[in-house]
């Protein structure tokens, strides 16, 4: 229940911008069993920074976003955006939420500028803000060209511009790098980081690009089979999946192996060449014990480094684990 995270409040303490508790959603399909998209999803996104939303295809990311934006109805569960229950109070907060979900959706025969103006009129946003956003995404000069004539990257940038029109407190971006060239990807990532640092905007970034999440996000929630299987600061999520292995390098490898085995450590069976001539020690709770054991025998370390899980490994381990 939402209560375990505290009641949403704006009275001087941090309020989650997104709260999801026990959300279930199944899609009925003709002559096929229902497809379970969300299976008791719990998710909390604190205000500020960039929160990554990562998961393999079909894990429920887009369904979660669609439910938060009122496009899809959850079968059960409680959801809040900026402290307000959705979908009931969505009209109260939608003016503070910008979104780009999958492909940008615009009239193909209208120019980019006209498309943005129509949306701006809906929310009473000035034309000056439209120009600012076009400028921000580098489309001001091409603003009068028809949307259908835009490249994939330009369409994506216009979608981001539309999402930014409201100066949102919460910016939901679903695969914003799709179709962008390397320079465009870099620009978008810098923009996301800049927005995340402004202290006002929280960016909720759904992506399948592990590198993007690792590079851009402060926090991450990882989805698998309709549930959130890990959440927290990116480094913390990595650390929690750490193997506890340590790489040890000393001049006299054979003696060092004997000392460590005698001290009770478990060594990898791999030949030293497999790890660049180093010894791999498993399940080390405190690497200082290794230092102590080797120093007692006058064996001096040239390297002692914990082997951290890379993000990809952590992601695969989390998402491929059996329920």
């Amino acid at each position: 229940m939402l209560g375990r995270w505290g009641t949403a409040s704006y009275g001087g303490r941090s309020v989650p911008v997104i709260e999801v508790a026990g959300a279930h959603k199944s899609y009925r399909r003709r002559r096929k069993p229902a497809e379970r998209a969300l299976d008791g999803l719990d998710l909390m996104v604190d205000g500020g920074g960039v929160h990554g939303f990562l998961g393999p295809n079909g894990s429920g990311k887009t369904t979660t976003i669609r439910i938060l934006l009122g496009l899809v109805r959850a079968d059960s569960g409680e959801l809040r955006l900026l402290g307000k229950p959705v979908p009931q109070a969505l009209p109260d907060v939608i003016g503070h939420v910008g979104a780009l979900v999958e492909a940008p959706l615009f009239y193909p025969n209208f120019g980019g500028r006209l498309n943005l103006r129509l949306l701006a009129e809906t929310a009473g946003i000035s034309r000056r803000r439209v120009e600012e956003c076009l400028e921000l995404v580098g489309l001001r000069e091409r603003g009068d060209d028809r949307f259908k004539g835009y490249s994939l990257g330009m369409k994506q940038r216009l979608g981001i511009a539309a999402a930014l029109l409201k100066k949102p407190q919460l910016l939901i971006l679903d695969e914003p790098s799709n179709g962008l060239d390397p320079a465009g990807i870099r620009e978008v990532r810098e923009l996301i980081q800049r927005l995340g640092r402004d202290g006002r905007t929280t960016v909720f970034l759904s992506s399948h690009l592990l590198a993007e999440i690792e590079q851009v996000c402060d926090h991450v929630s990882i989805m698998a089979r309709g549930r959130c299987v890990a959440t927290g600061p990116v480094r913390q999520v990595l650390a929690s999946r750490s193997t506890g292995d340590v790489r040890v390098r000393v001049p006299d490898q054979a003696r060092a192996r004997a000392v460590l085995v005698e001290a009770g450590f478990t060594l990898s069976d791999d030949p030293p060449e497999a790890d660049g001539g180093a010894i791999r020690v498993h399940g080390v709770a405190d690497p200082a014990e290794i230092t102590r054991a080797l120093t007692r025998e006058r064996l001096y370390l040239t390297e002692l480094s914990p082997i951290a899980a890379d993000f990809e490994s952590a992601f695969l381990e989390l998402t491929q684990a059996q329920p």
Binding site: S14, R66, P104, L118, G196
Partner: protein, 350 residues
Amino acid sequence: MTDLAAATMTPSPAPDDPPHGSLLRAEVHRFRSRRFIQVVLALALVGYALVITLASATGFGKTTPEQLAAAERNVAEIVEEQNRFREQCLGDANRPVDIPPELVCGPPNTAESFPVEQFLDKVPFVLADNLPDGGIAVAVASAALAFLLGATYVGAEWSSRSMVALLFWEPRRFKVRRVKLGVLIGAAAMLAVFGQALWWGTALVMTRYLGRTGSLPADFYADLLAQQGRSVLLVVFAALLGFGVSNLIRNTGAALGVGFVYFAVVENAIRVVRPRWQEWLLTDNAAALVLTGGHRIFIFGEGFVDEQGAFVESGREVLLTNLHGGLVLGVATAVLVALGVVLFQRRDLH
């Protein structure tokens, strides 16, 4: 403290009231900016001008007294000739005696049997006759146009999925639908009023240069205005029907296809297979709504063979009143639109 920590610990600002926009203004802007709608309306105007020009050049014209006299002489000669043939027929000994002579030789001919206009190269434009008749033609054309506009207005939004994008800005689906319907109703009514006004103006000009006013019944203008009012209603219904079908199918082309199949195939099939249902068909009720005094239809029955072995058609004549036409069209439109609105409220959108 890192930026991130600072940002996380900073209370999120309270969501104050979002800026007040105008969905209605945006929708009107969206509607009138649609290139397809602009092109269709422009083409309709060009088509109207073309038809009027052709009709004026080839069909209507003032008649000189000499031309009229010549035509009347022509009619008198034909009447005399036809009656001579009739007399010959009646006096023919071989004429079947068991069939009434009126059925074999026909009734006596009079000048009324041969309208004098048929014997003139160009007929005068008679305001009393042509203004109401032309108004109905304009209403039918406007209704077809309105069906197309209604279908494309919402169909294009589904095709481009900008309907979904709009919900990121206004998540109250019922409000979105209400505003869109309001814009469409307003646009259809304007189209209908403009069409009728344009035709009225055209008719006055044609009367001035190509014809005469004719004898106007006492309640001519009251009847005309009532007919035009009902025409506006028909055009609005047509626009809503187009909207309703397109909204259910989510595609303009498919909606137009459904419309074509219904009007060209289904209605004709019903007239043949289930003639009793004819009084519920949309086209008959559209005619009933617009025509002054309603629309008479003959509903064919099974028919039978009489004692002499002749096939006798059975059936009944039904008067579909203006009210009947309005109610049938209104209910059909309301059901279709309501179904679309309810589904839009409930459906998951992807």
